[in-house]
Symmetry: C2
Subunit: 719 residues, 2 copies
């Protein structure tokens, strides 16, 4: 806590310096032990922070042997981080002074800003102006602080966080306490860096993710968020990150969203959109708050799983083996089919009662000799179908269950198992009923990077994540970076004014993107319509084109199966119905299109999400769309592979292989169609919504029966 | 372990005596510490079992100061339980001897029976004969044993199980170890009675459930099962039980089922059927093995939740509050809408920063004074909309987080909170990040029956169960006992011979049960058909009736929209198509029925499940049935209320309120229809399958377009 400031490389950006500071000013330092301005300096001292600390308080004096500077101007140049422990109204001024003194960044604890609603708005605006004017990087306000266990830069004040590889981004200080408690309870690997995002007045999730994922000490990043701010930037960083990113979202329900709004003033996206696009970016989403620390901890220490392989379960009890197999199946993780050689090896090793088909049940063969797990695991890891071994049951507790004399054998087994997993370059996960007893064998495994978990469900959740990462790693070059062209980066907020373009314009927009919308014609008069139907030599649909009637069917604007001789009558019927329903309607003409062929009814759409930008929707189409809610999303632009994965997520995928009497659908053609819609969504300025329901699919043919497009119209007020 | 046998009331049944034995014989007692026949007696001594123990071994002698009897005949009369620690082949003979000596029941440890497949079949048969001939009650074989902590009757040999209110039924001894470990890790309430079911050669789950749920020391029953044996009897016992029953199933996936088969030779039912009918019986199903001990522990100690009320969340951090609200919403638990009075009280108590809309966030108001939780909880429990308070966050850790001086205040608060929950007769659940530190405040709460949980997800899972039990308790008189008429009790196994009855017979079967299948007629000739269509004065469907063509549509046996003048041609077309596809087909005639009106397409069916007996299926109908998999089940007979609940579980329910342009459907009429189908399923001897797809529903009208019935035909071989 003494000495001079170490030089930081000039190219290191301000946020990187702030999150791993080599010098810290505490603005609002205090001699009152109840105040953060006192506690922070004590915490830095307790954590052994080795770099300079500068207390600042107009009263001056001394604190923990450090000279208290009377104002920010007295700071030496180039301070990395300032903890601002001042009341809200004093914050904007302090930030301007800190920027003037060349401080890289500040952590602002005060609340009373955006999260207080209208009352906090003026102060939030002042804060925003100070940030914009000076360029100083700010974490918060309304944050619990930041923490770096590698240096002891503890600006949160939690006592003795165990150092380790998990970095944490959170909107809630209590979540840090939860994560630290879970890490202790689970025997997890410990914490590297923590950032409490607070209101995100300046620094947001995506920037922190980039910095933390780039720190050598980070093995995985655990994120808790109620609102991701620039969601698209977060997707881009997550997709690019080498380190696993595990995310727990708060505010997914209406009640939760309302609570989150009062908590940090965050706005959330549609939960379904967020779920799909975050998974697309490789983020591991956890639905349970009790799995965030667990999953980040396992991913932070585990060897990656080789791609294209399955899981082998090795258990010492049939009950556990069965539950593990069930849970893996439910999680979509394939169980490896063991080779005959492997089964023979296991049979020779474990004897007749053992079940040597995966899941393997040793059925008592290890009760008197736990070292047999080593050869059994070796047999499994040697099998080319196996990419991960999950040991399930009592390991570590043999000396407690079957006799103290087994203790040494168990500990030797733990060391051998860990070494073997290292040799095979393959993850080994251990479940044990005896974690609560904290046996030495578990410590040995954990010290070697082998997670030991008390819950089969936890082990399976982690296995599923490792399996997904294996697949993702093997297909990385076939995935989108999720970056948007520069012109699209300036925000996704819609104006409140938007308008549906008419069907011919909508069809032309889609066709310009290389998508065939099938034969159709525009008729200006009843005579033209009759001629068009006649020329087609088959029944057609007639659909009104009127700016006042975007919902054509609801006002009688559609006639189906119209023959040439009936066309003029149909035209007149439409005109009568539409003008009866909407007396002010101006009818520009009608779309004439052949009646639809048979096909699978699909839904394809696109929208611009307020958090994640352009996204494409795909699912089951037709009239049951709303009841089924069978729809998934991808952030655009996306790739052919991502489109294929998107298709398989839906119930609609089950209809594509010639279901009942429906025609089979070519998945590659459908994927290509979706990719083009994604490109269109990115390239169309002012797109609010594109909706094609149904798209009739048969073979390689994809025929949108209707195309609805809504564009924002910033220039003109609504008519 | 000495003295004479206490008299047991003569009316006490043998199984009740076996599971709470006042005298125990150990057959196969041994002086070898590695053998169960030694360990069992040591475990009884260590557990302080106060009743007589009789070692039996032909070698005689003495063991732990007890005289070893040379054979079973030397036992005094009326022994309650015998632990049979003999090799498999010796078991049947030993059981006959024990029965001869008047022993009530035996626990058989040996394996090598049914679970060994064909190799174990002869021994299993010998065992079954010994049981049938003597009537002795047998737990096992292939069991880990039984355990009663109230008396110290520890016939499993696990060391020092903590005594408490949770009774356990399991097919796996390792699951007991898991449950005991989880109970310790969670600070759970401890174990009352354990039964390892093993192969269920005699005693099955349903009988044990009846006995354990009836023991005064049981607060809840935790069940782990790979196969429930007589599933219907289990449903009946669960529905009748006063105590909560929590069930974890193994063998739900194909891989798990295969593993379970090799483990205990169990056969499982369809997972979807089992899930629905067990929930119908009030069983709390857990999908995660790490929630069995937790949920049983909470339910065993909690006050029931008052019916018709919601949950109030009280938190000391917005992040946790939001996550709790999200999880409650996802679990379908309503958050209480707090009254203005409650909100005012909370505002006065907690100050301006607090969020006083549910979830309540004290926002720092308790940091310096945790006793404020008492008045806040009081305010919530006084609100008539609140039936349960969930305290979320740091409670118990205030003295660790904010200063040691808060320790006494926290402990006093814990006592006050527990007392208040008792006064209000309302459950209080506490989540805390600090359970890992095992603070005294948590001990105080737990000792008073207030669960303290480390996971918000656990707390919410338990809350959901309490909420469901409240609703169930309030509607008990409106629910089925699930009992079948005596004549139906003798097993559900189908013969391998079954036959589809023809459509007229199927319709008449359904009509006899009071279900209108709409107008239809049977025509023997083309002329009759034409006359029937003519008399109807509207287009009709013609459907072939031929024993060789149960799948009419697939062989061209159906014509739709047939008018009177086209009827004879349609008839001839059907005859040609059917006899071309099936040259041997004998055509008995055709069903003539008016074309269907518009309606919602539903699926209604019934079958006789091999585990649970007659069940009714309901869901979305039409051609997409298989793709959607939108179907749920109820065990028959069931009530109107249960039918209404069944309907709401499906996606089809979303189509009943006039969805899009479909007619609205009367739910009471639909429920009545389902109840009748349930009664029909119970009353129809030899029913294999009843299938009505679609049933067209509009208003109160429910019209099955087709009725397929398959009956077993034990008398005649297939034609």
């Amino acid at each position: 806590m003494t000495g001079t400031i170490e030089p930081t490389a000039t190219e290191t950006d301000a946020l990187t310096r702030l999150l791993d500071p080599r010098s810290i000013a505490v603005v609002g330092a205090s001699t009152d032990p109840a105040k953060r301005g006192y506690q922070a300096i004590r915490a830095l001292r307790d954590a052994g922070y080795p770099h300079p600390v500068y207390p600042v308080n107009p009263r001056g004096g001394e604190l923990f042997g450090l000279t208290v500077r009377r104002n920010v101007a007295e700071l030496p140049p180039g301070v990395d981080a300032a903890l601002v422990a001042l009341p809200g109204p004093a914050v904007p001024g302090a930030l301007r002074e800190l920027a003037g003194a060349g401080v890289a960044g500040a952590v602002v604890l005060a609340n009373g800003f955006r999260e207080s609603g209208a009352a906090g708005a003026p102060l939030e605006a002042e804060l925003a102006a100070a940030i914009a004017d000076t360029g100083i990087r700010v974490i918060g306000p309304n944050t619990s602080g930041i923490l770096n266990t590698a240096s002891g830069a503890n600006l949160v004040g939690v006592p003795d966080p165990a150092p380790g590889p998990v970095s944490v981004l959170s909107q809630s200080g209590n979540m840090l306490l939860s994560l630290l408690a879970d890490d202790r309870a689970l025997g997890g690997p410990g914490l590297h860096c923590y950032v409490g995002l607070g209101n995100q007045a300046d620094v947001g999730y995506h920037e922190c993710l980039r910095v933390l994922a780039g720190q050598p000490g980070t093995g995985a990043v655990a994120v808790h968020a109620e609102g991701l701010g620039d969601g698209r930037a977060f997707l881009v960083e997550a997709a690019a990150a080498d380190r696993p990113v595990v995310l727990l979202r708060g505010g997914r329900s209406d009640a939760g969203r309302a609570a989150a709004l009062s908590h940090t003033g965050s706005v959330a996206s549609s939960d379904a959109v967020a779920t799909a696009v975050l998974a697309q970016a490789g983020v591991e989403l956890v639905d349970r708050s009790d799995e965030l620390a667990m999953l980040a901890g396992v991913l932070a220490v585990s060897t990656p799983m080789p791609a294209g392989r399955g899981v082998a379960v090795l258990s010492d009890g049939g009950g556990h083996a069965t539950l593990a197999a069930d849970a893996l199946t439910a999680a979509g993780v394939p169980l490896a089919t063991l080779s005959g050689t492997t089964r023979s090896r296991l049979r020779a090793l474990l004897g007749p009662p053992a079940a040597v088909v995966n899941p393997v049940d040793v059925a008592g063969a290890t009760d008197t000799d736990p070292t047999r797990f080593v050869a059994a695991t070796e047999a499994l890891m040697t099998d080319p179908a196996v990419g991960l071994v999950l040991l399930v049951g009592l390991f570590g507790g043999y000396h407690l269950r079957f006799g103290k004399h087994l203790k040494a054998a168990e500990e030797a087994t733990a060391a051998d198992l860990a070494a073997m997993a290292g040799r095979h370059g393959m993850p080994l996960l251990v479940h044990s009923c005896y974690t609560v007893d904290r046996p030495a064998a578990h410590h040995t495994l954990r010290a070697a990077g082998v997670p030991v978990l008390a819950s089969i469900d936890h082990a399976v959740r982690a296995t599923a994540a490792l399996h997904r990462r294996a697949r993702r790693g093997a297909t990385r070059s076939q995935r989108s970076t999720l970056r948007l062209p520069v012109s699209e980066k300036c925000g996704y907020s819609h104006t409140s004014h938007s308008r549906a373009v008419d069907e011919p314009a909508a069809r032309r927009l889609v066709e310009a993107a290389g998508i065939d919308t099938g034969p159709w014609w525009f008729a200006r008069t009843a005579g033209e319509a009759a001629a068009l139907v006649g020329a087609h030599k088959g029944p057609c649909a007639l659909k009104v084109v009127s700016p006042q009637a975007p919902h054509k069917s609801d006002v009688g604007g559609v006639r189906l199966g119209v023959t040439a001789d009936a066309a003029e009558g149909a035209w007149r019927g439409i005109v009568t119905d539409v003008t009866t329903a909407l007396p002010e309607a101006v009818i520009d003409g009608m779309v004439v299109a052949p009646m639809a062929p048979r096909g699978v009814e699909l839904l394809v759409g696109a929208t611009v999400d307020p958090v994640f930008g352009p996204v494409v929707a795909f699912g089951s189409g037709g009239v049951l769309v709303e009841a089924l809610r069978d729809v998934t999303f991808r952030a655009a632009p996306f790739t052919h592979l991502e489109a294929l994965e998107m298709i398989e997520e839906t119930v609609a995928a089950r209809l594509l292989d010639g279901y009942r009497h429906l025609p089979a659908v070519d998945r590659d053609a459908l994927a290509e169609f979706l990719v083009r819609i994604g490109d269109l969504a990115v390239a169309t300025p002012g797109l609010v919504e594109l909706d094609m329901n149904p798209v009739l699919a048969a073979g390689k043919n994809l025929l949108p029966l209707d195309v609805r497009v809504v564009l924002s119209s910033p220039a003109s007020p609504p008519g």
